[in-house]
Amino acid sequence: MEQTFWRKRLETIEPAELAAMQLKNLRKVVGYALRTQFYKPRLKAVGITSPEDIKRLSDIERIPFTTKDDLRECYPNGLLSVPMSEVVRIHTSSGTTGIPTVIHHTQPDLDVWTDLVARSISATGAGKRDIFQNMMTYGMFTGGLGLHYGAERVGMTVIPMGGGNTKRQIQIMKDFGTTVLHITPSYMLHIFSVLGECGVAVKDLKLKKAYLGAEPYSEDTRKMIEKLWQIDVYNSYGLSEMNGPGVAFECVHKSGMHVWEDVYHMEVIDPKTGVKHEDGKEGELVFTNLQREATPLLRYRTRDVATVLKGRCACGRTHRRISRITGRTDDMLIINGVNVYPSQIEAVIMKVPEVGNNYQIHLTKDGALDEIIVKVEIYSKMFKGDLSQLDKLRERIKDDLRASIIINPTVQLHEPGSLPVFEGKAKRVVDNRVKI
């Protein structure tokens, strides 16, 4: 198989040299962290008051973990380590209770990220002769813009479609001879189901590759999509706290995703004890972004569960590979590629006076796509007897959820006391989706 490298020297760096580079960059990023309100006291508490206090790479383990809740508490600027005038972009993602988490980027930060995406794309064998249709959502969600700039850097012809509008997507794929897609696995299956309706067959298209991410899917689903579409499918991993896509990506061998370790220092821990796992043992991924100025994040607990694969990949890259993400250590839901916490939904509906205390979230499949049904109970004292009041209430809850969490739910109103009540920590989520 032909190998295409973007930064061959960095991608095939020997472990000793990689460790030396990581140490140098860790010191730098600790220096940035010491300028933030959040990290300064935390690092001081473990005896780190200057970058020189990091003597060896393993000193990273002295630093306490950073969690999503920490990020929320830093909202909006608690983690900012440069003057705002140096910040060229802000991305926010969903917080667990409605307060978003913020990542600021300087121009050098964006350059590093873009370069990693370019590296990822090159590893799949794609290049400047490819037509790249980006079906991931643009905007605050990092999936869209992240791949967009990386693809441009590689020199691909980029079609910035964004999500949705399936028939137009198919038309564009056909008219411009799209060769590479970036998309969620469920949407990839959905488009296939609409092809026939548009009078388009797979052979009418020039599609060769698809980068699938933002949602978990199985190896069987990969094989099925590859067969249906007659293409190669590559698994993509990223999270907005670590810039976005391009944290880890599959090469042409499709045997696990290479984590770009010159930028992302990776640890795998036992989510309960925080104890570090050896390679090969499943656990929670913990990343330190070694090359970001504006928002340093040290030992960030991703809540994503995966395994570091042992041994080197046949492609010659020395960067370790991870398995697919096999689960979460929190209750985050992924709905059509959007990350949603039940507590966020709760925060929205509990602000509505006509709604009682009990609610439930049902997840089902409508074809290949996820459907979310939010069931709420009417608060009897607020009921005025009008159908119009109920219709407005349903619309209001829907609008509020759409605006704050970017989901498009069906809202159902129920009688007081009709939804099941659970003892202790209520089981609010009923997930009837068939795993893909």
């Binding site: 069931k375 009417i378 608060y379 009897s380 009921f383 005025k384 007897g385 009008d386 159908l387 119009s388 109920l390 219709d391 159902q412 109103l413 129920h414 009688e415 007081p416 006391g417 009709s418």
Partner: protein, 142 residues
């Protein structure tokens, strides 16, 4: 003007039964009933002899129940009479949000229950057109 009981219920078997069971125990007499289907829920609308008592009984049991003002009209049962009623409302630009009616004695008497956006204006218009507005107790006298 009369009071109508509007009860919010889940749209599933047994909910009407639960409501009527409670009202039967409380010896509430139902004159008119209608049920509206709105997907996962429905609205039961009742004209009863003791709406205040019925409402309290339902609220005590945890139902989302409310009293709504409606207009009860007794009409002669003859061709063109509903049209006459509609014309009276239309002239004053009064909008009906819901309505139901039935004949009580063929060729003699009918009863309408009207939900409108402006009750005083509707009552005035109907009286001017010669209709009899009644209250719930008067149903027994019809």
């Amino acid at each position: 003007m009369a009071k109508q009981l509007n009860i919010f219920v889940d749209n599933k078997p047994g909910r009407l039964n639960a409501v009527t069971d409670l009202l039967a125990i409380k010896k509430i007499n139902i004159f008119i009933f209608t049920i509206q289907d709105r997907g996962e829920f429905g609205l039961i609308k009742l004209i009863v002899d003791r709406p205040g008592d019925a409402n309290l009984a339902l609220l005590d049991e945890g139902y989302a129940s409310a009293l709504k003002d409606v207009i009860l009209v007794s009409v002669k049962d003859k061709p063109g009479n509903l049209h006459k009623l509609a014309t009276a409302l239309q002239k004053k630009k009064i909008n009906l949000t819901d309505a139901r009616g039935t004949v009580l004695a063929p060729s003699k008497l009918g009863l309408c229950c009207l939900e409108v956006d402006n009750i005083p204006a509707a009552e005035k218009a109907l009286k001017q057109a010669g209709f009899d507005i009644i209250d719930i107790k008067e149903i027994y006298k019809l």
